[in-house]
Amino acid sequence: MLKVTELTKSYGDVTALNALSLTVQEGSVFGLLGVNGAGKTTLLSILNGLIGIDSGKIELFGLDIIKDRKEINSISSIIPQHLAFYENLSVKENINFFASLQNASKSAISNAIEINSLEGLYKQKASTLSGGQKRRLNIAIGLLNNPKIIYFDEPTVGIDPKSRNEILDSIASYKELGITVVYTSHYMNEIERICDEVAIIDKGELIKQAKLDDLLSNRSSDKILIETIFNTKLSSLGLKLLDAATIESSQKELTQLLTLLENNQIFIKQIRYGSSNLEKYFLEVTA
């Protein structure tokens, strides 16, 4: 449904995107990864019609992203990293303003408010909202046109873990509504948590595009990652830990390890094949 073919964009002598091609399936949550300056923002800007392209072709739901810009704008939405609304207006005034610009239906407005739990904040001035509430308002505005695809540009920067969880849960729920999500973030655990598929771009080129499970699973590897529910005993068992709750082990040691965990009443959240998590993989391929 979103098909980028041989996309090239340069700023003077600097090539921001170099013959980039990728495909995003309808209804998926697609993670876009890359270091700063990799070309993510340029790609998002092009996808949202903010800048032109030098060459290549982009199709969204069969529409040409250059020629059919207005139509595409009506079915897509971007959630900018910055809080792109008016702090001196109330939540209601912000929602009404952006809804008017897009002729949003009443159901779309109430849907956006409900998904982002803004009902109780409706009359509050936006500047008085907490960081998490502001992020939710920022996202709600992006839902007002009932988009078929939403681009998230690092939407959880600078907010507390609770709000981040709520936002990630709501984004994961868009899948049930049939909305396609393109998600960029520096937080690999967020990508791991909500994305079905991932593309890694570096220096304007596609390094890898794959299903997240395929990327993380390396079944030929002997290594196994065991993610546990946090328990203070874990650190005293002399195991190789990747973080406070994740154990790196081998297939040979698995039975013994599981017994050890059971004896210490440490509960397992997830067992994964492969020697790396997404962060490790990302660092390897972009090194």
């Binding site: 019609g49 903010l50 900018p80 910055h82 792109a84 952006f98 610009l101 897009q102 046109n145």
Partner: protein
């Protein structure tokens, strides 16, 4: 869509207290302060001097002279805070003696041409008195000449017929202050405009609007309409201050002799010019602080050059020519024509067109800069 954008802009400006102060309170205070402070500078007939008299003659004649002096509203006896001391020498009234001068000592500091004004006013009283004396002297020998002499008036209105041609009108302090600070205040739309605009740009709200199919033209138009209305309200409030509030401070009220439609047309051109310049500064600056600094400085410079701070009629000719490069001067001249020469639309059409053209050019350049900035994500 456009109405939503305009409504949003109104809401944002109405909640910006600093902007409201700069747009409405600042020019109103300037009008009051400057009208009152400069009323005597603009009306020399109303100037009065505090004087002390030392009468060494001590005759009936000298007493009459002193009485005549203080009968004029131009002089008041005030020994404590006298600016000048006049000494009447002995035998001053003896017409047969030569070189009998009044001895005048300047006690305080008389600024600018005030000493000349004093001399002129005193000369009138002295000449009046001496004519009266001579008339009495020759009454017995030449009755007709004495009668003619008595009829002689030294009042300015009887001596001179002063009329003004074209731009030679000298306004009163209110006539000068009201349009000056209306024009100056209108250009202060830069403050709310730049704050809102730069926040929109910095927070990518403008980019978000672009993705919602809001064109650069509509964004700009949505900025123009609210500020046209705000400027319009400013003009009428400031005129109200000139007409109704200024007289409470013992200062002449503003008299609007020209056509109200001329005020509307000129205000529209002036507003477009102020908005154009403000949008241009707002889109060119990188921060709200930078925009308000550049905006403030450019307003003060345009005001200083354009005759807002210093009236054009007291500027040297070279400065008056230079003043014509400032759009504030075009607006100010238009308003002075309306207030002093009963100007109608046709008389202010040229200035209004020039102002509108300036505004439209600035807005066109702004739209180009804004398009470039949005495409670069700035």
């Amino acid at each position: 869509m456009l109405w939503a954008m305009i409504k949003k802009e109104f809401l944002l400006v109405s909640r910006d207290k600093h902007a409201l102060l700069a747009l409405f309170v600042m020019p109103a205070i300037f009008i009051l302060v400057m009208s009152v402070a400069l009323k005597e500078q603009f009306n020399q007939d109303a100037i009065s001097f505090h004087i002390e008299i030392k009468d060494e003659d001590k005759t009936k004649e000298s007493a009459k002279f002193i009485k005549k002096l203080f009968a004029s509203s131009s002089f008041s006896l005030d020994e404590e805070s006298a600016e000048l001391r006049i000494t009447i020498p002995k035998s001053y009234y003896d017409l047969s003696r030569k070189n009998q001068n009044l001895d005048i000592v300047v006690l305080g500091s008389l600024k600018g041409g005030l000493l000349e004004v004093f001399k002129a006013k005193l000369l009138k009283v002295v000449m009046d008195f001496k004519l009266d004396q001579m008339s009495k002297k020759i009454k017995k020998t030449d009755f007709q000449a004495s009668k003619a002499m008595k009829k002689m008036s030294l009042e300015y209105v009887d001596l001179y017929n002063i009329s003004y041609e074209n731009k030679e009108y000298i306004p009163s302090s209110t006539q000068q202050s009201v349009p000056s600070w209306i024009v100056f205040g209108m250009f202060f739309v830069i403050i709310p405009m730049s704050t809102i605009f730069i926040n929109e740009r910095k927070q990518n709200t403008l980019q978000r609007l672009t993705t919602m199919n809001v064109s650069i033209f509509k964004m700009t138009l949505a900025k123009i309409v609210p500020y046209l209305v705000i400027n319009h309200i400013q003009v009428w409030i400031m005129l109200g201050v000139g007409v109704f509030i200024v007289p409470f401070f013992d200062t002449p009220a503003l008299e609007v002799t020209g056509s109200f439609m001329a005020i509307e047309v000129l205000s529209f051109g002036l507003s477009l010019s102020a908005i154009g310049l403000s949008v241009l500064i707002a889109v060119s600056a990188t921060s709200a602080e930078q925009a308000t600094t550049i905006g403030g400085i450019s307003n003060i410079l345009l005001g200083a050059i354009g005759g807002v701070m210093v009236p054009k009629f007291i500027m040297p000719e070279s400065m008056q020519t230079l003043a014509n490069i400032s759009p504030m001067s075009w607006g100010l001249d238009g308003f002075l024509d309306i207030f002093m020469k009963s100007a109608d639309i046709s008389m202010v059409a040229y200035n209004a067109s020039l102002l509108a053209l300036f505004g439209l050019v600035a807005l066109s350049i702004s739209m180009i800069i804004l398009k470039i900035r949005i495409s670069r994500g700035l």
